[in-house]
């Protein structure tokens, strides 16, 4: 397939690996923050191709993994109301909340529907005017604009039974918080599709203030290896900066139209991240103008008190301090079929990716 096959070319992969080995003399740790990267890195066995002095660590870029139990609990509370239809991406359905999951509620009769796009949720709302349709908005800057676009569409169509429960977050505050916390890394393999929307400017601080290399990467083996080579070059030259390796999809300025939609509908708010706690201005909340689409404003509901799962070290893994294999529950009490923590549920979660490709 175009834009995929040529980036899986064996010859190119070999060439890149050779060059990385030749060029790299220093001991370095690189963090991939995007869950899609975590998945691709495990799937293609990238770590086994690299010389021993280069270490890859997974970071906090799986949106399902960093979201709070209270978000899931609130969705569950909504699903228990008779006049509510929950619409959600498939990733969320099996995530354990404090005492239940959407999947379990569905089995008990709740109307929970998996959709591919917020546009499908709008269609459901149009067909069910007597019900309140709540869409669970999760994801970083890649996904947030589609939620904004959905709300703008709902407004244009005059839909009054459509609501968004937003757990949308923005990526760069978490990347900066990790450095502040003293996590030892030399550079970031920066998220390709977040950057497609935001452009490369959001990482400026990381290179200039914190002195870390940042290379925006695509998701194929050639993309990832090329990004690693560019980071190695930066390290060897002592010249950390922001570079785009994924030029076919990322422009320095990003997608201005999508940014505009996000600005129109959302405002920045403090938000809680698993492993990192509350980070200032890291979440996207629906602003006053579009308040009538905000589930939490328009549909009051009582939510059960939060209970965190004991023994799950997902938070430490998301900070890059521990590896899934350090968890006592990994592949024992916790498997993809029977997940204890969010990092095992989502395909983008580090525990899930390790389980499938690296067990």
């Amino acid at each position: 397939m175009k834009y995929i096959d040529e980036y899986r070319d064996k010859e190119l992969v070999k060439k890149l690996v050779d060059q990385i080995k030749k060029r790299s003399t220093k001991q370095i740790s690189l963090m991939e923050v995007c869950g899609g990267h975590t998945m691709a890195i495990q799937k293609f066995g990238i770590p086994s191709l690299l010389p021993e002095n280069i270490r890859l660590i997974s970071g906090p870029g799986c949106p399902v993994c960093v979201s709070s139990n209270s978000f899931i609990d609130q969705a569950i509370a909504y699903s228990r109301l008779d006049d509510v239809i929950i619409t959600t991406y498939g990733d969320l359905i099996r995530v354990p909340g404090s005492t239940s999951s959407l999947d379990k509620e569905k089995a008990k009769g709740a109307d929970v529907r998996i959709v591919y796009s917020i546009l499908d949720a709008l269609t459901i709302a149009k067909k069910n005017l007597g019900k309140k349709v709540v869409f669970l908005g999760i994801g970083f800057e890649t996904t947030a604009p589609s939620s904004a676009a959905g709300i703008l569409k709902a407004q244009m169509a005059g839909l009054r039974n459509f609501y968004l429960l937003s757990s949308h977050k923005i990526m760069s505050p978490a990347m900066e918080a990790l450095i502040d916390e003293g996590v030892k890394i030399d550079g970031y393999i920066a998220p390709g599709h977040v950057s497609t929307i935001t452009g490369s400017g959001i990482y400026k601080n990381i290179a200039e203030k914190f002195g870390l290399g940042v290379v925006i990467s695509g998701f194929e083996p050639v993309d990832l290896l090329k990004s690693i080579l560019m980071l190695v070059n930066q390290m060897e030259n002592n010249n950390p900066k922001v570079e785009i390796a994924y030029t076919r999809a990322v422009k320095p300025e990003g997608n201005l139209k999508a940014q505009q939609m996000m600005k129109e509908v959302f405002e920045l708010a403090d938000d809680w991240w698993r492993g990192l706690g509350v980070l200032p201005k890291s979440g996207l909340k629906i602003n006053k103008k579009y308040k009538m689409f905000a589930a939490e404003e328009m549909i009051p509901v009582e939510v059960e008190p939060i209970r965190e799962d004991k023994g799950c070290i997902c938070g430490e893994i998301l900070k890059g301090l521990k590896n899934p294999k350090d968890c006592k529950l990994f592949d024992k009490a916790c498997t993809p079929a029977n997940p204890v923590g969010a990092c095992m549920v989502s395909h983008e979660g580090a525990c899930n990716a390790y389980y499938r490709y690296n067990k």
Partner: protein, 87 residues
Amino acid sequence: MCLSIPAKVEKIDGDMAVVSVGGAKYNASLQMIDDIKLGDYILMHTGFAIQKLSPEDAEESLKIFEEFEELNRQLDKEEKKTGERIV
């Protein structure tokens, strides 16, 4: 959900398009991008085209290794001359 895939635009109807991913057809909203023509490749994410893929840049990015190779050849040469690698 964070994944986005390259897809080819096959039909355009207002702000919606039919796109194909390795033969499978999907609907994609064009709300977020301008100037899309039939045959263009877009990056699709949760039912939205989030960027037009650039063929020139794709070629460019596959070529970049030649640059690195050149750099490495130079370094090797200097290494031989001085007996030590500078960077």
